[in-house]
Symmetry: C2
Subunit: 379 residues, 2 copies
């Protein structure tokens, strides 16, 4: 959904090497240094009280808003981040960083292992959502910010925000969690597992060692993405968008080429994803999602939020999102309140399914704007 | 769900060659002869008024009930078909036939083309749901039955039953349609398309020409089936069945082997499917589903049922079935009634998702039993 709303203009992605002594990962492995790519928009105020950390979703990058030199497509959340927008860069200092294990500048399986001079591939340790947030916290340290006004994000980004609030409640003042969950359900794990199997079943995957090859596991990665895209749309949304319309033909082909528009859409999504994303990164990132579980090693979800009862939470779910159904964030809201915290939960009516968190900005913007104003003044 | 209920005992699959002059398919292709494998249970009465035709789902066979010689697993609907059961073989003469393009004895891509002495592979023409029912009608002719007491089936079988009622209303008296639809939605098409792409992307598929090879597209077929299985279960059902339980480990592995029970389940389902099903058949059958659309070339769904207003319909949907949501059969019920027909619609509350049509027999049995009694006496 392109936008003609005011944009930041040209922005720049920066890179920083952190955790020289290594980051202690949840797996027990110590790994470092960790490279993080990040962008910032707006200006940090004198008392450093206006910083917002934006967490991206599964296959997005640090490039949330504005235009990179020479690119015609703005950042993935340009509709929400910019002058006068929900995350108003005239007021706030916005940080967005790529998560480790991704493929957009932060350390990932496609990054060069300095010890070998070759890409890590599958020798990179698994990073959990907790490990990602820990790495990002080092970036916030580096930027000299003691307390973030807000951490905000949708989908996987939403999990990162909840993790921030649970792990480092003293480093943030408020949380915006969109279209997300506190714990991957077996159905969510199942879809991720099929995605991983699709990639690993492709002979070109070669146990993750394909960076020197002519081609990586393009076919497996495309299929993984096709299934993903079904889960991002709602049934109703697909009815509206495609119905049973045929693609460039008036009647059924009675063959296995291409009949329906929805087939064409999925194939295109699969193909274009292959051009921009690393298959190994998808393995690592989906694993991080599946491991995410704020109830784990706790008596209840409520217990997870005991230390964050002085934070403000804004939780936004979308009615037709069946990948991360509203019920999951509703449970989060209840748990926060039971722990004595302040949670505002909205369910936005939308046909866009999970994708709504990127598309239905008009409904999110006023919620985000007023929540940030409240967070900025109340504390 | 194994059953200790009375079974038919040993049964036998028969085979018949029909349509020697060829069957005119919806594609315009004339194809024949067509081999059909089928089973019958119970006894046809003197006036041939007690025959019920059971239509199977996507990957099932003519073997609906009883035990084939030497097999320990009964037919796929043994819980519903047998002495004293919902489809009572003491009262009714039951027929079940494999659909063309499948791989269980009826003509399919793995069958030998008599003209070449080799398997048809992808040279077999596409059979629509209409073509399958047309072929099955020839079997009913062959058996000397003018009018079926009932056609019954779930999932794809349900589409076959609706097609029977629309195409040959004078050959049947009643219809039982379970967990099905009048038209494949874009989401349903999308899942099938990913399944097909998974198979066709496997190099071992070799454009469908793999019957002489050491191995067919096992990997692609397994992945197709894994996605399928997610759609057969409900989110709630997966919570109950697997939750986030780990498989044979106490803590996360932080690797890409196997963490969760649900992953193990999916891999097992994928692998065992490969042992019993032909990949090309899955291509043909999913295409038939996607083409199915009773609204096509008609002004409305109601129009489809204009000629079948003297039939009795029993429509059963399951609350947690998100592959064929209750809404779709509800629309069928409304359309039948608008066309002046008699439709009874039930939504059974169940956590089993789409699989409920095979598992939740206790709730279906009384509905089926009383409906069949009514159908037998009213006409």
């Amino acid at each position: 959904m392109p936008t003609l709303r005011p944009s930041l203009g040209t922005v720049e992605t920066k890179t920083i090497e952190l955790c020289q002594d290594g980051l202690l990962l949840e797996s027990g492995v110590r790994f470092g240094p960790v490279t993080l790519s990040y962008e910032t928009y707006g200006t940090l105020n004198a008392d450093k009280s206006n910083a917002i950390f934006i967490c991206h979703s599964l296959t997005n990058s640090a490039h949330a808003a504005g235009f990179l030199e020479g690119q015609k497509k703005p950042g993935w959340w340009d509709v929400m981040v910019g002058p006068g927008k929900g995350f108003d860069t005239d007021k706030y200092f916005i940080i967005c960083a790529n998560v480790p294990t991704s493929c957009y500048g932060s350390t990932g399986p496609s990054s060069i292992n300095p010890a070998t001079g070759k890409p890590y591939g599958m020798s990179l340790p698994v990073f959990t959502i907790g490990d990602m947030v820990n790495a990002h916290r080092h970036l916030v340290d580096f930027l000299g910010i003691d307390k973030l006004l807000c951490v905000a994000g949708g989908s996987m980004g939403g999990m990162l925000t909840l993790q921030w609030s649970v792990a480092y409640p003293d480093r943030i003042r408020s949380v915006i969690t969109i279209a997300s969950t506190f714990q991957h359900s077996p159905q969510q794990i199942a879809f991720n597992e099929v995605a991983r199997q699709s990639i690993m079943a492709d002979p070109a995957w070669n146990k993750g060692d394909y960076y020197d090859a002519e081609e990586g596991p393009r076919v497996g990665l495309a299929i993984a993405r096709m299934t993903g895209h079904i889960t991002y749309l709602s049934e109703r949304g697909m009815e509206l968008k495609f119905g049973r319309r045929l693609q460039n033909r008036l009647k059924y082909g009675y063959d296995f080429s291409l009949d329906f528009e929805v087939e064409s859409y999925l194939r295109y999504q699969g193909q274009s994803f292959v051009e921009r994303f690393d298959a190994n990164s998808l393995l690592y990132l989906t694993k991080a999602l599946d491991y995410f579980d704020l109830e784990r090693d706790r008596d209840s979800l409520t217990d997870a939020f005991r230390l964050s009862s002085n934070l403000l939470y804004l939780l936004i779910a979308f009615s037709s999102d069946w990948l991360y159904p509203p019920q999951q964030l509703k449970e989060v809201a209840r748990a926060i309140r039971r722990a004595g915290g302040d949670a505002t939960y909205y369910e936005i009516s939308s046909d866009y399914g999970h994708d709504a968190f990127l598309l239905d900005y008009e409904k999110q913007e006023p919620l985000v704007r007023s929540f940030l104003e409240r967070a900025a003044t109340q504390h």
